[in-house]
C-alpha cells in the first residue's frame, strides 16, 4: 500500500509541474468518454476526462479538509491559522507580504485612533511647534509676527478658553492703545465683541427656540394623545394604564373626537343598491346561467366550468350561517285552536321564547294564551287569512317576490280548505313541534318523524332539521344531510305510492328537496341515478320475460318530474336527465296501452317528455309515435288508414277503441278540467258518461301535446314527414266534425301549423373544409429532460421525475464520495502505523 502511494505522490508532483495543456495533450492522461450518439459539431462538456488530475485534486482537497479534521479529532483545543492568505496558493508571496503589512498598519492605526489625542500632530503655539519651542532658541517674537501668525489661534483661544484670555486681552488692548487705533487691532476687538454678541444672541435664540419647541412638542403631544386613541384601537387602554391620572381629564370634546375617529375607522359599507341595480344584477346572473345552459345544451365539452354557482338557500341572509330562531314560528295552541299571530306579534313572542329558552310548554301556552286573548278579536275575522298566514313564514323565505302572489293564488285555488277542515287539522296537530330535530339516520326514522303531521308542518320539520344539522355546525352533518336527500326521495316515492297518493305533501317537500340538492349535487345525483337505474332494471327484467311491460307507477312519474325540477333537462348530456329521458323513451316504446289508466299514464309521460325537451327542442320520435297511437285509439273507423302505426300500438285489435266515445251526446256536457295525477293508478268511472268525459279529456290533452310538439319541432328539416301520419289522421279520420266544439280550435291550429311549415329544403352538402396547410419543414422540437427518456405526461409528473432523478444522482454521488473518504482515511491511518513502526524499529536498532 505504501508503495503505490509513494508512486502516486511522485506522479502528483510531476503532474503539478506540468501545465494543464501539457496534461491534456498527453494521451496517457486522457480518458475519452464513449458517446452513444455522436452529433457532429456539438460541444460536449464531458467528452474527455482527466482521471489523474481529478484524482490528485480530490486527494489534495481531502488532505486539506478531511485529514485536518482527522488530525484534530479528539483534541479539545484547536489551532486556527488566521494568517492572511496562508493557504491561498494563487497569491504570490510578495503580494501576501504586502497585504499583510498593509493590514497590520491599518489595524494599528484604527486601534490608536480611538483614544489618540493628536499624537502624530504637532502642537503649536503661535504657529510654532511646541516641540521646537522646547529648544528655546528664539522665544521672543515680534508682535506683528505673533499677531500675524496667531490670528487664527487667538480666535480659537478666545472662543475655546473663554475667560482664560483676560490677560491676553488686556495686553492686546494695551497694545491697541499704544498703536493708536490701528485698524487691524480695532477690528479684532470689535470682532471679538461681535463674536461674543453673536454667540450670546445665538444662545438666546437657541434657548427661545428650545422653549418654543418645548411648547410645540407639548402641544403636539396633547393632540397626539387625543388622536392616538383613534388611530390605534388598544392605545387608549394602554395609555390609561400608564397614566391613570389623566383619566379624569377626558373631556367631552375628546370623547367626540374619538367617536368621530371611530366612525372614520369603520369600514366603508357598500352603497345600498337601488332596485334597478338589483334587478340588473339579477338579470345578469340569470343571463350568465342561461348562457351556461345553452352551452351545455350544445354539448360542448365543459372545460373549466365557470359556473361557480354558490347556492344561496332561500333562507340565507348572505351573512354566513346564523342559527337564529327569529324566522321560526312558534306554534301554540289555545283551547285546541291553532294560534296564529300577526307577523310582528310573532316576533315579540319569539323574543320572549328565546329568553325563556326551553321552559315548559305549558307555561308558554299560558303566557301566550294571555296575550292571545287580547288579539283574539283581531283574528276571529278572517280564517282564510289565517290559513295564508300559516304559510307566511315559509313563503316569506322565498325571495322571488314576483312569483309569490301567483303561486300562492294557485295554491289556494288548488286547495280550498273549508273552515272545518282547518279546524280538524288544528285538532290533529295537537302537539307542538319541537325546534330542533336530529337528522334521521334511516328511512324509517324519517318516516316516523314526518308521519301524522300536516304537509306544512312536515315541511317545517324538514326546514328545521336542515338548519339544526347545517354542515357548519358539526362535522358529521354533511354526511347526514347527504343521506337525508336519499331518504327524502324515498319518502316522496312512498307518499306517491300510497292510496290515495299524498301529492300535496310531495308538493310541499319540493323546496326542501331543491335546497338539499343545491347543497349536495353529487349525493343528489347518486340517489336519483340509483332510483332510475333500479326502475329501468326492473322494467328490463319484465321485458325480457314477457316482451312487454306495464306503465311506470305513479311514484316513478313523480320521480321523473322531480328530476326535471332538480336538474337541467336541456343539457346535451347530463348524468341524471339523460338516463331519465331514456327511461321515458323506453316506457313510451315498450308499454302497450291496455286501459284508460294506461292512456292517462302515457299522457303524463308525454307531458314529462315535452317538458324535458321544451327548452332544447330536441327530437323525441317516441313521443310523436305515442301521440299518434293515442289519437288512433279515438278513431272510429279503422278500415283505410293511410298511416302506419309503430309498436306498441296496433292498427286493429282488441284494445284499439279505448278512446272511441260510446255516446256522441256526451260531447255536449263535457268541459275541460285538470285530471288528478292519481288517475294514472286508479280510475273511478262508473257511468258511460263519466267514461266518455274522461276520454274527451285525454283527447284534449293529446291534441294539446300535439300542438306543443308541432310548435317545438317546426324548425326540423323533416318536420312534415314526421307529422305526416298525424296530419293524415286528423284530416281524414278524426276530422273537426267528429270532435267536440271546444277542441276544434286546437285541431285547426295543429293542421295550420303543419301546413305552414316549409316543405322545400336546401340540398345537403358537407361543411366546407379548411384547406390543409402545406407541410412545413420546421424542425420538430423535442424537450430534453434531465433524465433520459420522456416519462410522465403532466408537468407535475415530469417535475417529480426530475426531482427523483436528481435525488438518485446526488445520493449516488454522496455515497461514492463517502467511500472515497473512508478509503483515504484508511490509507492515512496505515501510513501512520507504518511510520510509527519504522521509527520504532530505528530506535530499537
Amino acid at each position: 500500500m505504501g508503495k503505490p502511494t509513494k508512486k502516486r505522490s511522485v506522479a502528483d508532483k510531476v503532474r503539478k509541474a506540468k501545465t494543464s495543456t501539457e496534461i491534456k495533450n498527453n494521451p496517457f492522461e486522457v480518458k475519452i468518454n464513449r458517446k452513444k450518439f455522436d452529433v457532429l459539431g456539438r460541444k460536449v462538456k464531458h467528452d474527455v476526462g482527466l482521471p489523474g488530475v481529478s484524482r490528485s485534486k480530490a486527494i489534495t482537497k481531502r488532505k486539506e479538509t478531511l485529514l485536518k479534521e482527522y488530525k484534530q479529532k479528539n483534541k479539545s483545543s484547536k489551532f486556527i491559522d488566521r494568517r492572511f492568505g496562508e493557504y491561498d496558493t494563487k497569491m504570490a508571496p510578495e503580494d501576501k507580504i504586502l497585504q499583510r503589512f498593509a493590514m497590520e498598519r491599518k489595524r494599528s492605526y484604527d486601534k490608536k485612533d480611538v483614544f489618540n489625542l493628536n499624537e502624530d500632530e504637532e502642537l503649536t503655539h503661535f504657529g510654532q511647534s511646541l516641540a521646537k519651542m522646547e529648544t528655546f532658541n528664539d522665544f521672543v517674537n515680534s508682535d506683528d509676527e505673533s499677531e500675524e501668525k496667531g490670528l487664527l489661534s487667538a480666535e480659537m483661544t478666545a472662543s475655546h478658553f473663554g475667560g482664560g484670555g483676560g490677560l491676553l486681552r488686556k495686553k492686546t488692548s494695551g497694545d491697541q492703545q499704544e498703536e493708536d487705533g490701528s485698524q487691524r487691532a480695532k477690528s479684532r476687538q470689535e470682532l471679538i465683541e461681535e463674536l461674543i454678541l453673536k454667540s450670546k444672541q445665538e444662545k438666546r435664540e437657541r434657548q427661545a427656540q428650545k422653549e418654543e419647541a418645548q411648547v410645540l412638542t407639548e402641544q403636539l403631544d396633547k393632540e397626539w394623545k387625543s388622536i392616538q386613541a383613534l388611530m390605534v384601537k388598544k392605545a387608549p387602554k394602554a395609555e390609561s394604564d400608564e397614566k391613570p391620572e389623566e383619566k379624569p381629564k377626558l373631556e367631552e370634546y375628546d370623547m367626540m373626537v374619538r367617536e368621530l375617529g371611530f366612525e372614520m375607522k369603520a369600514q366603508p359599507s357598500e352603497k345600498l343598491k337601488t332596485p334597478e341595480e338589483l334587478a340588473r344584477e339579477e338579470r345578469e346572473k340569470l343571463q350568465k346561467l342561461e348562457a351556461d345552459r345553452l352551452r351545455r345544451m350544445m354539448g360542448d365539452e365543459i372545460g373549466n366550468s365557470t359556473q361557480q354557482q354558490v347556492h344561496m338557500s332561500a333562507d340565507d341572509l348572505n351573512d354566513g350561517f346564523i342559527l337564529d330562531n327569529d324566522d321560526k314560528k312558534t306554534l301554540a295552541y289555545q283551547d285546541g285552536k291553532w294560534n296564529i299571530e300577526e307577523e310582528e306579534e310573532d316576533n315579540e313572542e319569539e323574543d320572549d321564547n328565546e329568553e325563556d329558552g326551553d321552559t315548559e310548554e305549558g307555561e308558554e301556552d299560558e303566557e301566550e294564551g294571555e296575550e292571545d286573548e287580547e288579539e283574539g278579536e283581531e283574528e276571529e275575522g278572517g280564517v282564510s287569512s289565517e290559513e295564508e298566514d300559516g304559510h307566511s313564514d315559509l313563503e316569506s323565505e322565498n325571495e322571488s317576490e314576483e312569483e309569490e302572489p301567483k303561486l300562492e293564488a294557485k295554491e289556494t285555488s288548488a286547495k280550498p280548505l273549508s273552515q272545518e277542515e282547518i279546524k280538524a287539522q288544528q285538532e290533529a296537530a295537537k302537539s307542538e313541534l319541537p325546534y330542533t330535530f336530529a337528522a334521521p339516520e334511516s328511512f324509517s326514522e324519517l318516516k316516523d318523524l314526518l308521519c301524522n303531521h300536516t304537509p306544512d308542518n312536515q315541511r317545517l320539520i324538514l326546514a328545521r332539521t336542515l338548519k339544526c344539522n347545517h354542515p357548519s355546525l358539526a362535522v358529521g352533518n354533511k354526511l347526514k344531510l347527504q343521506k337525508l336527500f336519499g331518504f327524502l326521495l324515498e319518502y316522496v316515492g312512498d307518499l306517491a305510492s300510497r292510496t290515495p297518493p299524498e301529492l300535496t305533501t310531495v308538493d310541499k317537500l319540493i323546496p326542501e328537496l331543491y335546497n338539499l340538492c343545491q347543497m349536495y349535487p353529487e349525493a343528489a345525483c347518486k340517489a336519483m341515478q340509483s332510483i332510475l337505474g333500479d326502475a329501468a332494471h326492473s322494467m328490463e327484467e319484465v321485458l325480457e320475460v314477457k316482451g312487454r311491460a306495464a306503465f311506470p307507477s305513479l311514484d316513478m312519474l313523480i320521480y321523473l318530474k322531480v328530476t326535471a325540477l332538480l336538474f337541467p333537462t336541456s343539457d346535451f348530456r347530463h348524468p341524471v336527465t339523460t338516463p331519465a329521458l331514456l327511461y321515458i323513451s323506453q316506457a313510451l316504446t315498450r308499454c302497450p296501452v291496455r286501459s284508460l289508466q294506461d292512456v292517462t299514464s302515457g299522457l303524463v309521460l308525454c307531458c314529462l317528455a315535452v317538458e324535458y325537451v321544451s327548452f332544447s327542442k330536441r327530437f323525441l320520435p317516441e313521443l310523436i309515435n305515442f301521440l299518434l297511437g293515442i289519437l288512433h285509439l279515438a278513431v272510429r273507423d279503422k278500415t283505410t288508414l293511410g298511416y302506419t302505426l309503430v309498436p306498441p300500438f296496433r292498427a286493429t285489435g282488441k284494445l284499439t277503441d279505448l278512446l272511441v266515445l260510446s255516446d256522441w251526446e256526451s260531447c255536449k256536457t263535457w268541459s275541460k278540467k285538470s285530471l288528478p295525477l292519481s288517475a294514472t293508478q286508479s280510475l273511478d268511472l262508473k257511468t258511460d258518461l263519466e267514461r266518455d268525459h274522461h276520454r274527451l279529456t285525454c283527447l284534449s290533452i293529446c291534441l294539446d301535446l300535439v300542438k306543443r310538439c308541432s310548435l317545438l319541432y317546426r324548425d326540423l328539416p323533416s318536420f312534415t314527414v314526421i307529422l305526416q301520419p298525424i296530419k293524415t289522421l286528423l284530416s281524414k279520420h278524426l276530422t273537426a266534425q267528429t270532435i267536440p266544439a271546444a277542441l276544434q280550435e286546437l285541431h285547426k291550429v295543429i293542421l295550420e301549423t303543419i301546413d305552414s311549415a316549409p316543405v322545400a329544403h336546401p340540398r345537403l352538402v358537407f361543411e366546407k373544409k379548411k384547406p390543409i396547410p402545406l407541410k412545413l419543414l420546421t424542425p420538430k422540437i423535442v424537450e430534453v429532460l434531465d433524465y433520459g427518456k420522456k416519462r410522465g405526461c403532466t408537468r407535475e409528473e415530469k417535475e417529480k421525475e426530475r426531482l427523483k432523478h436528481k435525488y438518485k444522482k446526488e445520493f449516488k454521488g454522496a455515497l461514492r464520495e463517502l467511500r472515497k473518504d473512508s478509503r483515504f482515511l484508511a490509507r492515512e491511518k496505515l501510513n501512520e502505523v507504518v511510520q510509527r513502526d519504522t521509527e520504532r524499529k530505528k530506535k530499537r536498532k
Binding site: 354557482q309 322565498n398 343545491q518 349535487p521 307531458c607 317538458e611 327530437f619 322545400a760 373544409k769
Partner: protein, 535 residues
C-alpha cells in the same frame, strides 16, 4: 294352464281384500321367484296389478320389475320366438309344457308392453317416464335377442314395431308431451334408435295429417316439432358409433349405420312435416332453428325452397326469419330468387326497429347489401328508406341504422350524393322520394337527400345526435362494425350513462323549484293537478 288361471282368479279376489298386505310384497322378490322356478309363473299377474295401481311408487317399482323380468327372460330365450299362436290355441294345442310356458310368457310380455304404452299417457311425469324407460329397455333387449325370425335383411333385428308404437304414443294429439320428449332425447343419442324414430315420425305424420286432411293440429304439430328439433344428425359417418342393438356380421349393410341414409330420412321427415300447413307461431319456431340445425343436415337443402319462399311471402316477422334460410340457399346452393331485393325493400317498415329479431334482420341485411355490385339506385333506395324509418325508431335502433346507412354510402361512393350535392346548393327542393312506392327503382331516392339524418342531429340522445352529426363532414373510409351495436338494449344505454364517473361538477337547475307542477313549459301543470278536485 286353465286351472292355474282359475286359481289365479281366486287369488286375485283374495288379493283385493288384502291389498295392504300385497303392497308390501316386493315386486322384485316376485321376479326372483318367477325366474327361479317356472311354477311361480303366475306371480307375474301380481306385478301387473301393481303396474295398474294408483300409487306412484308401486307403479314405478312394478315397471322396474317388469323390465328386469322380461329382459332376463329374453336373455334366457325363454319366450316363444317367431309368429306366436293365440293363447287358447296354445293351451289346448299339442305343445310341450316347455313351449306352453314360453307361449304364456310371450303373451304376458305383449300385454305388459301394452300396459306400459298406456302408462305413457299418464298425467304424472314420473310414471310416464318410468314406462318409457322400461319400454326402451325392452327395445334394447329385444333387439339383441330378437323375438322374430331374422329373415328380412333390411331392418335386421331392430324392434321397429316397438319404437313405432312408442313414437305414436309420444306424438299425442291432445296432450303436450314435451317433458316426456325431452326425456326421450337421451335415447336419441343412439344412432339406430334415432334412425328408426325418424322413419316412425314420418310414418306417423303421413298417417295423422292425411286423416285430418291438412288441417292445423297445434298440439300435435308442436309435439312433432319438439321431437324433431331434438334430433340432430352427426356431421361425419365416423361419428355413427353408438348403437342400441349390436349387429353382427352384416352391420355394414345396415341402413341405420349409414350417414347418407340418416340424412335421407331426416330430410324426408322434415319435408313431410313442412308440407302441411303450420300454425303461425310454429313458422317462427321452425324458421329460427332452420338455418343452423336443419339445413346443414339435409342431403338436398334446395328442396326447402318452397317452404322458405312461402314463408318469405307471408310478410312481417316470418319474412324476416325466412331471410336467414333463404340466404343460405342463395349463398351456398346457387338459388336464384327473382325480386329478392325488392322484397327485402318492402320488408323495411317501422316495425323492424321494434321486433325481437331486429339484430338478426340487420345482420342479414348488412350481408345482403355488402355486395359492391348492387346498382346505385337500389342502395340509395335502401338508405333513404332506412333514414325515413329512423324517424320513428328508438335510440337503440338509431344506433344501428345510422352506421348502417353510412356503411352503405361508404361502399357505394355514387350514393354519396345523398349527403353531398354541391351543384344545386342554392335551390331548395321538395323531397322527391316516394315512401309508398314499392319498387326501389321508381321511388326516386337517388334524387333525394338525407334530411332525416339532419333532423336526427337534434335527437334527444347524445350518442344518436353525435352519430348523426357525422354527415356534416365527409365520412371516413373505414366502415363501422355494426355487429357490436346490434344487441344493445335501452337498459344498456342507460347503464352506460349511469356508470359514467362524474368528475366534473354536476350542473343543477338554477330556477328555484318551489312547486311540484312548475317549470318545463308547464305541460304537466296545465293538464294535471295534484289531487282530485271535486267536480
Amino acid at each position: 294352464m286353465a286351472p292355474v288361471s282359475r286359481k289365479r282368479h281366486v287369488s286375485s279376489a283374495v288379493a283385493e281384500q288384502q291389498t295392504d298386505k300385497r303392497v308390501k310384497i316386493e315386486p322384485n322378490h316376485k321376479v326372483e321367484e318367477i325366474l327361479q322356478s317356472k311354477k311361480h309363473a303366475n306371480a307375474v299377474y301380481d306385478i301387473f296389478e301393481l303396474l295398474q295401481s294408483e300409487k306412484v311408487a308401486d307403479v314405478v317399482g312394478a315397471a322396474g320389475a317388469c323390465s328386469r323380468l322380461f329382459c332376463c327372460l329374453l336373455q334366457r330365450r325363454e319366450m316363444f320366438q317367431g309368429k306366436v299362436p293365440p293363447e287358447e290355441e296354445a293351451m289346448s294345442g299339442h305343445y310341450s309344457p316347455q313351449e306352453k310356458y314360453s307361449i304364456f310368457m310371450r303373451h304376458r310380455y305383449s300385454s305388459c308392453v301394452e300396459m306400459l304404452l298406456e302408462l305413457l299417457d299418464h298425467e304424472l311425469h314420473q310414471i310416464a317416464e318410468s314406462g318409457l324407460c322400461c319400454l326402451m329397455q325392452f327395445a334394447a333387449a329385444e333387439g339383441n335377442h330378437p323375438l322374430l325370425d331374422l329373415d328380412w335383411s333390411e331392418h335386421h333385428s331392430f324392434p321397429r314395431e316397438l319404437i313405432l308404437a312408442v313414437v305414436n304414443k309420444l306424438l299425442s294429439k291432445t296432450v303436450d308431451s314435451s317433458l316426456l320428449i325431452s326425456r326421450f332425447q337421451e335415447f336419441l343419442e343412439m344412432d339406430d334408435v334415432r334412425y328408426y324414430v325418424m322413419s316412425s315420425v314420418r310414418e306417423n305424420l303421413t298417417k295423422v295429417m292425411d286423416r285430418s286432411r291438412g288441417e292445423v293440429l297445434p298440439v300435435y304439430q308442436s309435439n312433432v316439432f319438439t321431437l324433431m328439433s331434438n334430433i340432430s344428425i352427426p356431421n361425419q359417418e365416423s361419428e355413427l358409433t353408438s348403437f342400441m342393438v349390436k349387429q353382427g356380421a352384416n352391420h355394414a349393410d345396415w341402413k341405420a349405420a349409414k350417414l347418407k341414409e340418416h340424412k335421407r330420412v331426416f330430410e324426408k321427415m322434415w319435408l313431410g312435416f313442412l308440407k302441411y300447413q303450420l300454425p303461425s307461431n310454429m313458422y317462427k319456431k321452425v324458421l329460427v332453428i332452420l338455418h343452423d340445425s336443419v339445413l346443414p343436415h339435409m342431403s338436398e337443402p334446395s328442396l326447402m325452397i318452397d317452404f322458405l319462399t312461402a314463408a318469405y311471402e307471408m310478410g312481417g316477422g316470418i319474412s324476416l326469419l325466412a331471410l336467414n334460410g333463404l340466404f343460405i340457399l342463395i349463398h351456398e346452393h346457387n338459388l336464384d330468387y327473382p325480386d329478392f331485393y325488392k322484397k327485402l325493400y318492402s320488408l323495411l317498415e317501422p316495425s323492424v326497429f321494434h321486433v325481437k329479431y331486429r339484430a338478426r334482420f340487420f345482420h342479414l341485411a348488412n350481408l345482403f347489401l355488402s355486395s359492391s355490385h348492387l346498382p346505385a339506385y337500389l342502395v340509395a333506395a335502401f338508405a333513404k328508406r332506412l333514414a325515413r324509418l329512423a324517424l320513428t325508431a328508438p335510440p337503440t335502433g338509431l344506433l344501428i341504422a345510422l352506421p348502417f346507412i353510412y356503411n352503405l354510402i361508404r361502399r357505394h361512393p355514387s350514393v354519396r350524393v345523398l349527403l353531398h350535392r354541391p351543384s344545386e346548393e342554392e335551390a331548395t327542393v321538395v323531397d322527391p322520394y316516394v315512401m309508398e312506392e314499392e319498387d326501389p327503382a321508381q321511388c326516386g331516392a337517388l334524387e333525394s337527400s338525407l334530411w332525416e339524418i339532419k333532423t336526427l342531429q337534434k335527437h334527444h340522445h347524445p350518442d344518436v345526435s353525435k352519430a348523426a352529426g357525422l354527415i356534416n363532414t365527409p365520412l371516413v373510409q373505414q366502415e363501422e362494425d355494426i355487429s357490436k351495436v346490434l344487441e344493445t338494449t335501452t337498459y344498456q344505454l342507460m347503464e352506460q350513462e349511469l356508470k359514467q364517473t362524474v368528475v366534473k361538477k354536476i350542473p343543477l337547475e338554477f330556477e328555484t323549484a318551489a312547486h311540484f307542477l312548475q317549470g318545463g313549459g308547464g305541460a304537466l301543470g296545465r293538464h294535471f293537478c295534484l289531487t282530485f278536485t271535486s267536480v
